[in-house]
Amino acid sequence: MTKKSRREVLGAAAGFIGGLAVGAAAGWLAKTPETTLPITVTRTVVQPTTIERTIGLREQVTVKVNWWPGPESDAIAKVLDRWNKYMANESGIKSELVLFGRDAHVDKITSILLAGSPELDIVFEFYLVGKLAQYLEPLDQYFADESLYPYTLADYFPAAIDAFKVDGKIYGVPTDVSVHVLIYRKDLIPQPPKTLEELVGLARKFTKKYNSESPTDYGFIVSGKTLLFNAMLWESVLASAGGTPFEPGKETKAVEDLTSPAAKRALQIYADFMKDEISPPDSITYEYGEANAAFQAGRAAMYVQWNAAIGELRDRERSPRVWDKVGIAPIPGIQLTDGTILHRSHSHYLGYSINRASQHKKEAFKLLAYLTTTRAMLDYLKFGGFPPMRSVFYMPEAQQARTEIPELIPILDKYAYAMTNHPEVFTIYDILAKHISAAWSGQTSVDDALKAAQEELRTILK
């Protein structure tokens, strides 16, 4: 071996060993010890002596909490930080937030549950409790045990808890409510439309093609992309038109009523909006973001949207043109024989459950129990979530943080219906979206679209 090559070999060896040493040191420094923590309490009493008492050693368990990434996970992160700061030592339960990408979330948690992996203790299963129930821990016996659950679930809107029941058993807890509302320009429309006829009339009035003096280009925005969430949006109009939406236990009836006059009317309204260019022509590819953008740009007067949009629309920085002009109203409907107007809004609830394969179910439930308290959910709301809890909604702090709450309470209380938690919920809405968007775009007639949707859905539900 030459002098040069010996030097090279020694240099490489030194680099390798040095790298190992640095890596080992970094690993040792990063490691967080998880076991016994002695807790010392120091109390100063009246006498000038200090009593020191050491509370017994407690093993700490880490509960891995999965959540829906986005504003919801931003909110829960702060709630869990508070738990870790003030409650972890005393309870011996530490929480760790685990997030997957928004697009891949459902696929990822499904894989984990199917594999029977204990990787997650608490899973944010969205609203797929019907599909995933066999992989989730039923919670009834936990809620019934007062030593584990000294609180109450009565604070939640009843539909919210029902949404997480399968065969009468509770499998999860709701954390966020999504409901449909009519969003409109309150500066242009002093009284929001109450009936479908008024909706159609106003939509035409605020379309430049039919009214050259209209301040907006389009009267209504159809979220027209072939997307199951857009089918849910249309379903609110269907229900308000007197049709049968997909509610728990009524799935078969909803399919059979798809060819009813009410369903045809609801779909025809949307098809006419597209054909007559009352909705932007490109709205055939619109989903949540594009519909908001069109309204924020001041180019449209009304649309049906998820309540989650309200915060963004009423934000001065994000919606400089319309932030102070956003009105919320129930979905316009038909007039009933008693003179009242039928308003119905699709609502669904996001929530979490305990993984049946978890090795820390009791600890996970203790954390879950805390998350059902008013304090935790008030924090969740203030940081960006939207829990379906009456006590939270009526708090002045909550109404100050989220100004839309007073407007949403009556919609949630009086008009909201819970979406089905059928195991094939995604399939149902995907099939519906496919066929009704064909009708909106004029590819097929309203009758043919609804008939085709009905035939395909019958095979799914048989």
Binding site: D107, K131, K225, P280, T285, F426, K434, S437, Q443
Partner: protein, 289 residues
């Protein structure tokens, strides 16, 4: 000694071969397993054996065949356009131009963008309210909506594909042009041939094997179209722009029918295998492989 030396080479490639086999064979066998069962999220641990039912369901599904036809049509349109444009750009840049390297680098930029990001960018670019393209078109008096119906959506998807993948064809053709021998050109010039005749009788025949290869590659790649339709149109309006991969994705991940999705994938595999076999035979004829 020679025998053991001969055997040792198989042992040496085993560490890379075994993982490769595991990563390809195992999913393939599992796909066949899924395809002969009724298997969903709920029945994942106790699936029902259904034999060829899933394959029959795919074979009689109108939407599946529509998606196969649509994808084939899409691939058949974008591929020749990209080949022609790529070749044209390669010829134009195959000369001494000031700043040629910078131009080529900029032209290759779309290849560095992930297809899903490209789809989001194009959806914004063509948005009638916030998009740059409609704004410019309106400025010159043209009012066009890029997603209003099937035809517009289809053209927009094609434009997106061309913008992103023409640089791929360009760089292959450019490399081919750079590697061509000089002697035939010198001889042609001496004989008095003009540029058109040189291109037709020298450049094109010499580049033909390379262009055929890149055509097959582009066609097969275009056939896997997913990101653009998923993000820009959702497969709509209706299901008019649903490609075969989007169809399979829907069946597997949205409807949760793993068995049917596996059967669909295998069906597509056989269709692709037939197309690839035909392509390989053509390539063989022109002596590429």
């Amino acid at each position: 000694m020679r025998g053991s030396k001969g055997r040792i080479k198989y042992f040496l490639i085993l560490p890379s071969l075994l993982p490769l086999l595991f990563l390809t064979l195992y999913p393939t066998i599992f796909a066949y397993y899924l395809s002969i069962h009724k298997i969903t999220i709920r029945t994942f641990h106790n699936p029902e054996f259904t034999g060829v039912t899933n394959f029959i369901n795919v074979a009689v599904n109108y939407q599946f065949w529509y998606s196969v036809g649509f994808t084939a049509l899409y691939s058949a349109i974008v591929t020749p356009i990209e080949i022609a444009l790529g070749l044209l750009l390669a010829i134009l840049l195959n000369r001494e131009i000031y700043g040629r390297r910078i131009i080529i680098t900029l032209m290759l930029t779309p290849l560095a963008i992930a297809p899903s990001l490209m789809a989001i960018m194009m959806k914004l670019m063509f948005n009638e309210f916030v998009g740059l393209v409609p704004y410019i078109l309106r400025y010159i008096g043209v009012n066009h909506n890029f997603f209003r119906d099937f035809n517009s959506s289809f053209i927009t998807l094609i434009i997106t594909d061309i913008l992103q993948w023409t640089p791929f064809v360009f760089i292959i053709a450019y490399s081919g042009l750079q590697a061509l021998p000089r002697e035939p050109y010198e001889a042609a010039l001496i004989d008095g041939a003009d540029s058109k005749r040189i291109f037709r009788h020298i450049t094109l025949p010499l580049l033909k094997p390379l262009l055929l290869l890149v055509s097959v590659l582009r066609f097969m790649d275009a056939y896997k179209l997913f990101e653009y339709v998923h993000i820009m149109t959702g497969g709509g309006p209706g299901f008019s722009t649903t490609t075969s991969t989007l169809f399979t994705y829907r069946v597997g991940f949205i409807h949760g029918d793993f068995g049917l999705a596996a059967a669909t994938t295998l069906f597509l595999f056989y269709i692709t295998m037939v197309s690839a076999t035909i392509g390989l035979r053509i390539l063989n004829k022109v002596r590429i492989i």
